[in-house]
C-alpha cells in the first residue's frame, strides 16, 4: 500500500492506495493544491474571488439586481451547481451564500492570521437560488452576494480524486474522506469514526464542528436562518454516507439542527453518525 500526507485545504490531507503508484498519489496532491488555489477566498486572484468580485463589476448596472454573467471553469461550475443542490437537499441549512455574514463575524482572512473585529451582522441571506444563477460555462451573483464553497469543495474533491486515483484508494482531504474499494484486506478501510474504528468500503465520511476555527465571540459555522454563528447544543457531528459531498452536507445540517432533531433527519439518509 502506498500513502502520501500533505497539508492543504486548511488541514492535513492523506492519500492511500493499493496498487497505486507513488507518482499517481503525487499527481493527486498536485491537483488538490491547484484546486485549493483556485477555490480559496483568501487569495484575491483565485477564480472564486474573481467570481465574487463580479457582483461589483461595472456590468452590475444600476437598477439591475444581478451582476454580469462571468465565464467560469467546468470545476467551478460543477461546484456552484453542487452548492445549489446542497441548499435544496438541506432545506436551506447548507447555504454557500453566507460569506458576507462570515466576514461580519470576523472571519475575513486566513484563520492563521487571526480574526478581525466583528462588524454589524448583515440580515440573514436570501435563499441561495435567488442569489446565484449558473448556466453552462457561466454564473452570476446578485449584487453584494458572495460565495464560500467551504466544506462542499472538500467533499466534492475527495469524491473526484478517489474516483480518479483507482479502484482501491482512500482519500482524506482535511477530514472529509472517501474510501473506495476494500483496502488491503478487502473488507474495508479502517477509519476512525467518533471513538470507534469502522471498516469503510465504498463509503465516505465527514465531520462538521464549531470547536475549530473558533474565536472569542464566534466561530466559522454560520446559521443561514439567522446570519450569525450557529447556536447548537452539538459541538461536533460526523456522518458517513455514500459520498463525501453528501457527508459534508449532512454533518452540517445535523449540527445546525441540534441533538433533538438531528437523529430523525439523519436516520433516512445516513448509514451512521456520531454526535458530540
Amino acid at each position: 500500500m502506498e500513502s502520501l500526507k500533505f497539508t492543504a485545504l486548511g488541514g492535513e490531507c492523506e492519500l492511500f492506495g493499493v496498487d497505486v503508484s507513488p507518482a499517481a498519489l503525487a499527481e493527486g496532491e498536485a491537483w488538490v493544491r491547484r484546486m485549493d488555489q483556485r477555490l480559496t477566498r483568501f487569495n484575491p486572484w483565485s477564480e472564486l474571488s474573481r467570481f465574487n468580485d463580479s457582483a461589483f463589476t461595472p456590468r452590475s448596472e444600476a437598477g439591475r439586481r444581478f451582476g454580469g454573467w462571468v465565464a467560469v471553469s467546468r470545476d467551478l461550475e460543477l461546484l456552484l451547481r453542487e452548492s445549489l443542490r446542497a441548499y435544496v437537499e438541506s432545506d436551506g441549512l447548507v447555504h454557500a451564500g453566507v460569506l458576507p455574514a462570515l466576514r461580519a463575524a470576523g472571519y475575513t482572512r486566513d484563520f492563521d492570521a487571526g480574526p478581525t473585529a466583528p462588524t454589524a451582522a448583515p440580515p440573514a441571506p436570501a435563499p441561495l437560488p435567488e442569489l446565484l444563477e449558473v448556466r453552462h460555462g457561466g454564473a452570476r451573483l446578485v449584487k453584494g452576494a458572495a460565495i464560500d464553497l467551504g466544506g462542499i469543495a472538500k467533499g466534492w474533491m475527495a469524491d473526484r480524486l478517489a474516483e480518479h486515483l483507482g479502484t482501491n484508494v482512500l482519500v482524506n482531504l482535511a477530514g472529509d474522506l472517501f474510501a473506495r474499494g476494500g483496502g488491503e484486506t478487502g473488507e474495508g478501510w479502517p477509519v476512525g469514526f467518533g471513538d470507534k474504528t469502522l471498516l469503510l468500503k465504498d463509503m465516505a465520511a465527514a465531520t462538521s464542528g464549531t470547536t475549530k476555527r473558533a474565536w472569542t465571540g464566534g466561530h466559522h459555522l454560520i446559521d443561514p436562518r439567522t446570519g450569525v454563528p450557529a447556536q447548537s447544543d452539538l459541538s461536533e457531528v460526523s456522518v458517513f454516507v455514500s459520498t463525501a459531498t453528501a457527508a459534508e452536507i449532512y454533518a452540517k445540517v445535523a449540527l445546525l439542527l441540534g441533538s433533538r432533531d438531528a437523529p430523525k433527519w439523519l436516520e433516512s439518509r445516513s448509514q451512521g453518525w456520531s454526535l458530540t
Binding site: 500513502s3 485545504l9 486548511g10 488541514g11 492535513e12 492523506e14 492511500f16 484563520f111 492563521d112 487571526g114 480574526p115 472538500k154 482512500l170 482524506n172 482535511a174 477530514g175 472529509d176 474522506l177 473488507e187 474495508g188 478501510w189 479502517p190 477509519v191 476512525g192 469514526f193 467518533g194 471513538d195 470507534k196 474504528t197 469502522l198 471498516l199 465520511a205 465527514a206 465531520t207 462538521s208 464542528g209 470547536t211 475549530k212 476555527r213 473558533a214 474565536w215 472569542t216 465571540g217 464566534g218 466561530h219 459541538s235 461536533e236 460526523s238 458517513f240 457527508a247 437523529p263 439523519l266 436516520e267 445516513s270 448509514q271 451512521g272 453518525w273 456520531s274 454526535l275 458530540t276
Partner: protein, 92 residues
Amino acid sequence: MTMDRAAALRAGAALFAAAAFVGSASYVVAHPKNDAAPLQPPAETDLALRTPVPSATATPARSARATLAPRITLAPGVKPTVLPGITFTHVS
C-alpha cells in the same frame, strides 16, 4: 542581683516552653484529621459539563470532545473493527 536575674531568665524560659507545649497540645486536640474535609483549592467537578470557551486568540479552541463521549449510531451491517484506524474524519 546577678543570681536573681539568672533565676528569673531560667524561670521565664521554662514558662515559655511549658506554654508552647500546652498551646501545641491544645491545638492538636482541637484540630483532629477530618477525612471528609473539602480539598483546598476546591476541585473542579463540573468541568465536563461546561461549554468550551473560545480562546482569546486565533488559536482554535479545543473541543469538549476530550471530556464528552460521542453518541454513535450505526446502521446494521456497518463493521466496527479492533484494528487501529489508518486515518479519521475530523473538523478542519
